[in-house]
Symmetry: none
Subunit: 194 residues, 4 copies
DNA sequence: CATGAATGAGAGTTCATTCAT
DNA sequence: TATGAATGAACTCTCATTCAT
């Protein structure tokens, strides 16, 4: 059982980074079960052996990638917190989420799939989710929106936005009207933040 | 490539049925990637060869199972449509969904995972979802609740209920208060059905 | 972790037998570390997959082979126990051991090597060794040779014979005179059996 | 294929020495097949690259180590040759061998295993063994014990002592009485040296 | 129509060795 | 001369699928 190497030289730090970045990218693109270690190695431009210098196995790349990119990919929210009206904030949230869903379209689906399959990853995911909920609560506070049952309300709000973004991005149900969906969601969020 | 046989004799029909039922059950229980065809054969009490008499491959069992059981497992809703108040209906929906989530706890997670991994299954899933949305619209109509943007509104409502059930069932975020969550969701659905 | 199959059909019993026999033969011939599973499969005339139907891994073949052939290869002794003189018995033992060493020349060396490397096998080997010692004690009893410290004496006697056979078979030390060696060993065994 | 370098500088000589000593130690401790070159490098406190500056491959370390340490580990015998009685000498031999077996307990087993696996090593081993036999013959001569068939007799004697030490050290056969074994062996050696 | 043994490509992983720095 | 990152062939083992019985 060989030790996983902690890179010391500059070039090896880059190699580890390359494997993680490209490997995770490929996993998201094609699906964890649809690629093998040779694929990852080729895609990252390294040998298969190099993978095992820095990661203890295939799944390790996935988990490391999750840890590094999960927040970025799955839980974005507005970072600039100057004074805004409630309406501006709601729109901003929706736009941000939508933009992100479109950007990481494929990753999103694959990651959700993986998260639902593996307890270790599921836990990671849920922690990040709660973390975000809290940050949004704070963000709203800074914009003078203070709520009872704040965590629960924001949890629901985020799920509404996520569901909306998902629907608009993948357009699974052709009979649903985009604009109507958005309107209804905004109405509900307004209700939540009342 | 041997032809898949369409059973005619009574015993054959039963065999095919057994493979489908037990096979799908096992897939849901343990995960599609965590079992093999021998497992399925053993669990169904048939030989591995028999599987390939009635299904063209492993995935075929999954898809057939999905087709047969998806509505039952994932999209339940109240069937008895006598006159009820709006409040009764909302509670009924939530209870039904929750009951179902708890009943099919493991299957649910596994199926979501699979659905997000495979386009063919995803499409199947979305069709069933839309079908359900329409049925609920009708159900409400029969109970004299008639809405503008009905499809969109019910889609959102169902996603709220689903998210609630999920949270209550898996209890991922320990810091969220169950009762508060329920209260807020009911408030929102009331708003939707106004 | 797939189950190891217990063969039911007649042909599969033969297959398992073939893998064990040929596999063990090859291991003895070329050395456990010098062959791989594909070699074993080819040599036995089966596919690599078949190996894992009947054995849980490569080492399992070795252990099973040991169990089956160890006595035969490493611990032979005269089986016909009619009345003989002490001198006849000693010669008989030496001849039997020598004959066997020459027959299994290569296996012998390889097996000793493996036995010294693996605790599980070592234990197996020692059990067989003690078993043999006891049987020889009984064999001598039946021929009216009864000893104090019989187990210890026979243990030493067998080690002398083994060492002699080894020397005569592999002829490692060219400067040693065969006949002188034999003479001295016989003298000592006579002393032991006094 | 890079040339193996013969060290000239003092530091280089030390490096080569360190690899040999520590590398061989590790091989003996853990087994040639259970360690890799990185292990050896770490254990010796050098880089993997350095190994290949002074040794042409992994096995070369083993052979060099054998050459250097075999006598010391496997064939010890009393060095101080002042006048002693036969009985004293016998006891001294046994004690020396036993002491050594216990000291190099693990190495012993591993080396025997390796020796039986590789012809080159086997030859080396046998040469050392014969060398020792001759030295013991001389040692006895110096103590006024002069024998016919001396080489053969001493070969047998050493094998008896080795077998005894082995048994006492590893205690493989619990049913054998230690003291009885020793007594019988001493009796036989007395017979040999008569 | 049922059986389950046989298949073999392909999976993840290891490690002796090389070579740019 | 020393380093340790990079290599990639070779390893053991799995499993969906086939097919003789």
């Amino acid at each position: 059982m060989p030790e996983v190497r902690e890179p010391k030289k500059k070039t090896s730090i880059e190699t580890k980074q390359k494997i993680l970045e490209k490997g995770f990218e490929l996993i998201c693109k094609k699906g964890y079960h649809h690629i093998n270690c040779i694929d990852i190695a080729n895609y990252a431009g390294v040998s298969t052996g190099s993978i095992y210098q820095y990661f203890s196995n295939k799944k390790d790349i996935l988990i490391s990638g999750m840890n590094k990119y999960l927040t970025e990919i799955m839980f974005p929210y507005p970072k600039n917190n100057t004074n805004k009206t409630k309406e501006e904030i709601i729109l901003e949230f929706i736009e941000e989420s939508l933009k992100n869903h479109k950007k990481y379209k494929i990753q999103h689906e694959e990651l959700i799939s993986i998260v639902h399959q593996d307890k270790e990853l599921a836990k990671l995911y849920q922690e990040k989710e709660l973390e975000l909920t809290k940050e949004v609560v704070n963000y709203l506070k800074e914009n003078n929106i203070i709520l009872e049952n704040s965590l629960e309300k924001i949890h629901i709000m985020l799920s509404l936005i996520d569901n909306l973004s998902h629907e608009l991005t993948y357009h699974h149900h052709k009979e649903l009207q985009e604009q109507a969906l958005i309107t209804e969601v905004i109405k509900l969020i307004n209700e939540i933040l009342k």
